[in-house]
Amino acid sequence: MIRVRLPEQLRTLAGVGREVELEVEGEVTLRSVVDALESAYPMLRGTVRNPATGRRRPFIRFFVAEEDYSDLGPDKPLPVALTGGGEVLVVVGAIAGG
């Protein structure tokens, strides 16, 4: 089970709390986690990656244990701490406001 922390706007849209837990098939990569997220919460389809290009949206970043994995590449394995070490994949939206 993979834990994913969502930004506020996506929690509102999906009607969920701060974190969701996802069953991820196969290797745990950014692509497989986002696939699982969009499968479990169809209303989030296209919100963290462009549905046409599959690319991460520019104001979105992915962190695990305070390390930035945004540019890891969609099919590279994410750190094992995510699968066994109790870490969370944090989806971060750029700060807006003053």
Partner: protein
């Protein structure tokens, strides 16, 4: 007894306002999709309980949601708006080329006959069609192919913000793009041509250019589709030949700059605008919020002020933020950038504030319920 449902899109979510046919007491529900910009929400004339909503946010892109129970519950539908073949680039503000890139849907135009068919106007300007209730979208590429490489955005973006169809001949479409102009199709979007003859915009390099006019809104009476009204950046215009030729009807308006425009449900020659001071002063002249009504198809306008703030009012009324119901007398509604929604149940003669302190209102759609 009949009633009215107002679908109000704002900068931070959508609100649903409902009333019975008297339109005196209103129930306000929302926000739906709190925090999301709702550029447009519109119900299908063929199925009043089917509503399409366009949610977007710079961070998270576009999400389309659909309700099949009048707004009680919602489900996501397709949000893949991939551009088809056509010009890869349009012009940027500085005249350089820039790729067409999808940002959001500004306007839905659901079919009058088939609840699964809906057109959608996009930024960057393009028109999409869905035949399965919004699950899949396909661009009608001929519009961009016609002149798209020469389009240049206005300050609000390169948006296709208005779609008008002829009830007697749904294949006849008229659309408006900010800073590009009006375009028409007689064949359901297979082919398009610019329809901007008679427009004169002395703030662009070629004032009577074929394209490049900043059209803010167009509207037509359903029973007289050949007559179109237009609020241009400056100038209120009219066409009596389906958009082939336009003439100015600004007449005695205090300012002919504005965004919103509406046509009375039963009187094809009665039209409403909300004059705004100028293209830099986006508030009403003299701090007085006045709807102007012409009952003669333009040129002679009367201010409608009863119930509207007549001092220290510096709000704007955006292009999609006015709508009319089909009851008799006709109901007229509009929302402001300061979050008020005003309603008139008597053709505009008097107004009441039916919601206040909402987020800035982007769109208002009145739906007359059986």
């Amino acid at each position: 007894m009949s009633g009215v449902r107002l679908l109000v899109g704002t900068r931070k979510g959508a609100f649903v306002l409902t009333s019975d046919g008297k339109r005196l007491d209103w129930k306000v529900e929302g926000p739906l999709f709190g925090g999301w910009e709702v550029f447009h929400a519109k119900a299908s004339p063929a199925d009043p309980n089917r509503i399409f909503a366009s949610l977007s946010k710079g961070w998270f892109g576009q999400v389309i949601q659909r309700s099949d129970d009048g707004g009680k519950s919602w489900e996501p539908v397709g949000n893949d708006f991939s551009y088809g073949t056509g010009p890869g680039n349009h012009l940027w503000y500085d005249g350089s080329e820039r790729p067409f890139e999808f940002t959001r849907i500004w306007q839905f135009h659901p079919s009058r006959e088939d609840p699964d068919v809906v057109l959608a106007g996009a930024e960057d300007a393009a028109i999409f069609r869905s035949a399965d209730g919004g699950k899949n979208w396909e661009e009608l590429t001929a519009l961009r192919a016609s002149t798209g490489s020469g389009w240049q955005p206005g300050a609000g973006g390169l948006c296709l913000h208005t779609i008008v169809s002829n009830p007697a001949d749904p294949a006849q479409l008229r659309i408006a793009i900010s800073a590009a102009g009006v375009f028409g199709s007689e064949d359901s979007g297979e082919t398009w041509k610019p329809m901007n003859r008679g427009l004169n915009s002395d703030y662009i390099p070629d004032p009577d250019a074929e394209i490049g006019h900043c059209v803010h809104r167009i509207a037509a009476h359903p029973q007289r589709p050949e007559t179109l009204f237009m609020q241009k950046h400056w100038d209120v215009m009219r066409s009596d030949d389906g958009g082939a030729n336009w003439r100015e009807i600004s007449g005695d308006l205090p300012s002919d700059f504005g965004f919103a425009l509406g046509v009375h449900a039963h009187e094809p020659e009665t039209v409403y605008v909300v004059p705004i001071t100028s293209d830099s002063e986006h508030y009403p002249p003299d701090g007085r919020l006045r709807v102007y009504r012409s009952r003669s198809g333009g040129n002679e306008w009367e201010p409608l002020t009863r119930g509207l703030p007549q001092e220290n009012c510096y709000v704007n009324v955006l292009r999609s933020a006015m709508s009319l119901d089909t009851l008799d007398p006709c109901g007229v509604y509009f929302g402001t950038t300061a979050g008020q929604v005003y309603a008139s149940a008597d053709d505009g003669d008097s107004w009441s504030e039916i919601a206040r302190d909402l987020p800035a209102v982007l769109s208002v759609e009145a739906q007359t319920l059986p």
